[in-house]
């Protein structure tokens, strides 16, 4: 960087960034700290170290059930998004036709629509078609939520994947299906994986949309946490939240290993 030619400016710049990143991470750090706190009141800083809350969390059905539901939901939504999104991304990247730009905008639009509008809309819609709240509604919502991430990730992946390989395969008598199985998919595997992971964490952590679609018996983990935050100040929640942080952190690191975060964002 051009203006790093005196020690003082390097220091202030570095300090500014350090503070900023510290503040960005602060809520997570606080939660993790509190989750080990032996006191029964949610306080920070912690007075000691204990795993009691983690144990409690695992023993609370509300949390474990909702966790399993979130995992199940995220997995199914991810699979659906990959199935629908991969061919669509391919079509959008490989073909240069006038109408395709609008299609791309359409497929990426769920990100731009405010969650509350989408949530209410889906709630009304599910009501209308008779499936009400619950797993089916959640599935619809999470599918349309994760699809744009898959499409976007794969479009950029396909743009890096030289079409000449497919042309070579065609010259070697390969049909379209064979090209998909033996040329395209093997080569975009890292992209698929990172798209899958992005999609998974998006679905897993989603609360704004899910709030409208959960029913009494089927709550996702974030919504369950939301309810807990509103009603109690149990440190068990801190343990659950820390757990979410750990999982998400590991998953994000996983994406970085696989495809390099730098290239995706």
């Amino acid at each position: 960087m051009l203006w790093q030619n005196n020690k003082r400016s390097i220091l202030t710049w570095g300090l500014f960034q350090a503070i900023a990143y510290f503040v960005l991470a602060l809520p997570s750090l606080v939660i993790i700290g509190a989750s080990f706190n032996p006191g029964s009141v949610l306080t920070f800083p912690p007075h000691g170290l204990t795993l009691a809350w983690y144990v409690r969390a695992v023993q609370t059905p509300a949390f474990t059930d909702s966790f399993l539901l979130s995992v199940e939901l995220a997995s199914i939504a991810t699979v659906l998004s990959l199935l629908a999104g991969t061919p669509a991304a391919y079509a959008l990247e490989r073909y240069r036709l006038p109408g395709l730009q609008s299609v791309q905008t359409l497929l990426l639009s769920p990100i731009v629509i405010p969650a509350i509008v989408l949530g209410i809309g889906l709630l009304m819609f599910c009501n209308l078609i008779g499936i009400g709240q619950g797993l089916a509604a959640l599935l619809l919502g999470h599918f349309v939520l994760t699809l744009p991430y898959v499409v976007r990730t794969l479009i950029s992946n396909f743009s890096l994947f030289d079409v000449v390989l497919e042309e070579a395969a065609q010259s070697l008598r390969a049909s379209r299906l064979v090209i998909w199985y033996r040329v395209i998919l093997p080569n975009i595997l890292p992209g698929l994986l990172s798209a899958a992971i992005f999609s998974f964490v998006t679905s897993f952590g989603n609360v704004a949309l899910s709030i409208f679609l959960v029913s009494g018996s089927t709550a996702t983990l974030p919504v369950q946490m939301f309810a807990s935050v509103e009603h109690s100040s149990d440190p068990t929640l801190a343990a659950v939240a820390s757990f979410v942080i750990f999982i998400t952190g590991i998953i994000v690191l996983g994406i970085d290993r696989l495809a390099g975060l730098q290239r995706l964002v």
Binding site: M1, L2, W3, W13, F16, Q17, A20, Y21, L24, A25, L26, P27, S28, L42, F44, L83, A84, G85, P87, A88, A91, L92, L106, L107, S109, V112, I113, P114, I116, V117, L118, I120, G121, L122, L123, M124, F125, L140, L147, V151, F198, V201, G205, V207, A208, F212, P222, M225, F226, V229, L237, A241, V244, T248, V252, L253, D256, L261, Q262, V265
Partner: protein, 293 residues
């Protein structure tokens, strides 16, 4: 064009259609129909969630003339502009430093993690920092800057800070990805032409980074103006942001037609502002001309 060529074109078109149909159908179904249905519901005259029939624009009239809702919309818009501006100002230097500086990999990790983390975790963390028994109070008490714990939650300022904190990563990433594409040699060229830091900043980097800045501001604005979870949990009753009112009407009062009307107004305002932002700033020559080498 011979018949053979036409057959190839057809085959290609069918292939294309096949590739796109599942995704497009899904989105149209799950996105467009609900929104359309929402429009229909907003035009029912009743104030309840059952036995709905008829057509009327009465809810729109109320939403657009009742002071409570108008003021809330205005206030929410202003808050959103504040948060957008604040995150833009903070996000730009951070994004630039992330694009050009060292330790990029770690920086990106610390930016992406809050983004992928559930919103509720973020809020929970802030509650623990700002609550009566929280971090801020503990620190201030032990430094004797306070006599007794103060309630930092439940205020407009706090909500704006938390909103800004939550959405700052979007700005950073947006700026970073666009600055990455700016050839560093342009900055050297500016210096070689007697341009000091400010000149390089204002006359070279910002114009070229404009698409990224606009994209970041658009996202943050839409997210902030439609935020309801953060204002509800952090702000409490004193901060009546528009989306919170929408939520109340739909989920508590169960006045679906009115709530739908409010939500659609919100949608129009959000997307309208986004379009305005893009139009006002979209004259740049595009990033294609700026790609290095």
């Amino acid at each position: 064009m011979g018949r053979f060529a036409t057959r190839i074109a057809w085959s290609r078109n069918i292939y294309l259609l096949g590739l796109l149909t599942p995704a497009v159908a899904a989105v149209m179904l799950i996105l467009s129909i609900p929104v359309a249905w929402l429009v229909r519901i907003s035009l029912f005259p009743q104030d309840q969630s059952y036995d709905l029939s008829g057509w009327s624009a009465v809810h729109y009239m109320k939403a657009l003339t009742d002071d409570l809702y108008l003021e809330s919309l205005a206030r929410t818009t202003i808050y959103s502009l504040i948060v957008t501006l604040g995150t833009a100002i903070l996000g730009f230097p951070l994004g630039y430093a992330a694009a050009r500086g060292k330790m990029r990999r770690w920086k990106i990790f610390f930016i992406v993690l809050p983004l992928t983390l559930s919103l509720i975790v973020n809020i929970f963390g802030w509650i623990m920092i700002l609550g009566q028994n929280g971090l801020l109070n503990s620190v201030l008490l032990s430094l004797h800057l306070l006599d007794h714990p103060k309630q930092f939650l439940f205020g407009v300022g706090t909500v704006l800070v938390v909103l800004g904190h939550t959405y700052l990563p979007f700005q950073i990433l947006s700026v970073m990805s666009v600055v990455r594409q700016i050839d560093p040699m342009l900055e050297e060229a500016s210096a070689s032409l007697r341009g000091n830091r400010w000149v390089t900043f204002w006359r070279v980097i910002i114009p070229l980074a404009r698409p990224g800045i606009v994209a970041g501001c658009t996202i943050v604005f839409i997210l902030t103006i439609s935020a309801f979870i953060i204002p509800q949990l952090i702000g409490g009753a004193s901060v009546q942001m528009y989306a919170v009112l929408v939520f109340q009407q739909m989920m508590t009062v169960l006045n679906w037609p009115f709530g739908s009307a409010l939500s659609l107004i919100l949608l129009v305002v959000a997307l309208g502002f986004a379009a305005l932002l893009r139009a006002a700033a979209g004259r740049s020559g595009g990033l294609r001309s700026v790609v290095a080498k």
